[in-house]
């Protein structure tokens, strides 16, 4: 009997770890800054993320130097002068989400994601409505967040202030597979 309980408990614990986590290593993150002088866009498709549909937790991480710009010098300045990638190599998000719908059903579900975004070594709390879609056993996450360089203590010198937007739109698209 004891052995049986242990087995059941063990199996359940194992299931808890194994069954409900979805993972991606090729998440897409884009940011877009628009001013009358210049539009700047950069994207990475190397974000990794885990979606835990049981505990409704969500984490993201991306190497800052994986963002591709349309001008190489911009990319260099982004890494060297603004986000300081050598000091702070990763951008991370840790948080959880809520939904009024049963996300284990196939289809689109609006979710509210809340958590801590860390860029340039600075934490900032974000809360945003996103869309989680379940299709053929896979999850798709899509959403947008607006951030500003000032939130993360990224100083923009006056010489380039009219080229870098105060509000930067971040687009997230990730396709998860069961782990």
């Amino acid at each position: 009997m004891k052995k049986f309980i242990l087995l059941v408990v063990g199996m359940m614990a194992f299931q808890g770890i194994q069954a409900q986590k979805y993972i991606t290593r090729s998440g897409y993150i884009k940011f877009y800054s628009s001013t009358p002088v210049e539009d700047i866009e950069a994207a990475s498709n190397q974000a990794s993320s885990v979606l835990d549909v049981d505990s409704k937790q969500l984490v993201f991480q991306v190497l800052m130097n994986s963002f591709q710009f349309e001008k190489a010098l911009m990319q260099e300045h982004f890494n060297e002068n603004y986000v300081e990638s050598e000091k702070y190599p990763k951008g991370t998000f840790t948080g959880n989400f809520t939904s009024n719908e049963d996300i284990s059903n196939e289809g689109q579900h609006p979710i509210v994601v809340k958590g801590k975004l860390n860029i340039h070594g600075v934490d900032h709390m974000v809360s945003q409505t996103m869309t989680l879609t379940k299709k053929a056993g896979e999850y798709f996450l899509q959403g947008k967040v607006v951030v500003s360089p000032a939130m993360f203590k990224i100083n923009i010198p006056s010489a380039v202030q009219d080229k870098i937007g105060k509000d930067i739109e971040v687009t997230i698209k990730a396709k998860y597979q069961q782990r």
Partner: protein, 303 residues
């Protein structure tokens, strides 16, 4: 009791995973971290740095050296009236290959050069302690001969072959060595050397993210001299100190140097002025880059 234990265990198994554990699940995939921006510009002052503009980028560079501080400085408006200039244009065919053309006013010299990155400093999945580059230039002195002797055109040519070994020690400090060979097809007297070896040493220290202090010294290794009214006089080693200021697509480099020439063979081997005598020239380099071919962008996934 047993049931209770079961429930507790079930409960913990469900919620044992914190966000940190989830993050650990992602782990750190090994990546190669290449050292970037070892120097701000493609030149330290006169020396080529280990930097190459990215593929598809064209760079226009203006180099200026004013007259010396010991030559009627105020009368010549801080030497501005005697300015020397080099205009240069280069283009990166690949991220590791850059070619360019230039024209320097001192001795009316045209130059063509090629700069190739052979090794890239990196850490992480692949460790490479230094960046290694080859730099070569061919220089054509177009000044008119004034000795009434028939000269062959090849006598106007001189060549520079250089290896650049650079290391970015940390975010702010970089250093490089540039063993250099300059070859002149023609020298004025038979006992002057055609081949002149030197060892360049350059460094930079970042003061802020956008401002850096630079210094470079070209240590002469060959007995290199000229004649002043029949007296054998050694050439000086070029020593320059500078400040780099970066603003968007420009890099401004201000410096003081004892070498006024701007074409490679001139400043590397034909520097008569010495710091001690006040043969100091104020100068600047300004570069502007143009992205002619945009790098590949990351496309959004379609779903």
């Amino acid at each position: 009791m047993k049931k209770l234990l079961l429930y507790i265990l079930m409960g913990t198994s469900m919620f044992a995973f914190s966000q940190d554990d989830l993050m650990d699940l992602l782990g750190d995939e090994p990546t190669i971290d290449y050292a970037t921006a070892t120097f701000k510009g493609t030149r330290v002052v006169n020396f080529q740095s280990s930097e190459i503009p990215a593929k598809g980028v064209m760079q226009f560079m203006i180099m200026h050296r004013f007259g010396s501080m010991n030559d009627d400085y105020l009368y010549n408006f801080f030497g501005l009236d005697n300015a020397q200039i080099r205009l240069g244009l280069d283009y990166s065919i690949a991220n590791w290959l850059n070619v360019g053309l230039g024209r320097s006013s001192a001795s009316k010299t045209y130059d063509g050069f090629v700069k190739a990155k052979i090794l890239r400093q990196s850490k992480g999945a692949k460790t490479m302690p230094v960046s290694l580059l080859y730099y070569g230039s061919m220089n054509y002195n177009s000044q008119r001969w004034n000795d009434n002797i028939d000269h062959d055109d090849s006598e106007r040519l001189s060549y520079v072959n250089q290896v650049i070994i650079a290391r970015k020690f940390n975010e702010s400090i970089s250093f490089q060595l540039s063993p250099t060979l300059v070859h002149f097809n023609f020298v004025e007297t038979s006992n002057q050397p055609n081949d002149i070896y030197s060892l360049g040493m350059s460094g930079r220290v970042k003061v802020t993210n956008r401002i850096a202090i630079t210094a470079e010294y070209n240590l002469g290794l060959t007995d290199n001299f000229y004649y002043v009214e029949g007296v054998k006089t050694p050439y000086e080693d070029a020593l320059s100190l500078g400040v780099d200021i970066e603003t968007g697509g420009h890099v401004f480099q201000f410096h003081i140097t004892n070498s006024r020439g701007l074409s490679d063979p001139q400043w590397m081997t034909r520097t008569p002025g010495s710091w001690g005598n006040g043969d100091i020239y104020l100068g600047f380099n300004i570069s502007r880059v143009f992205t002619l071919k945009k790098p590949k962008t990351v496309d959004a996934p379609t779903f």
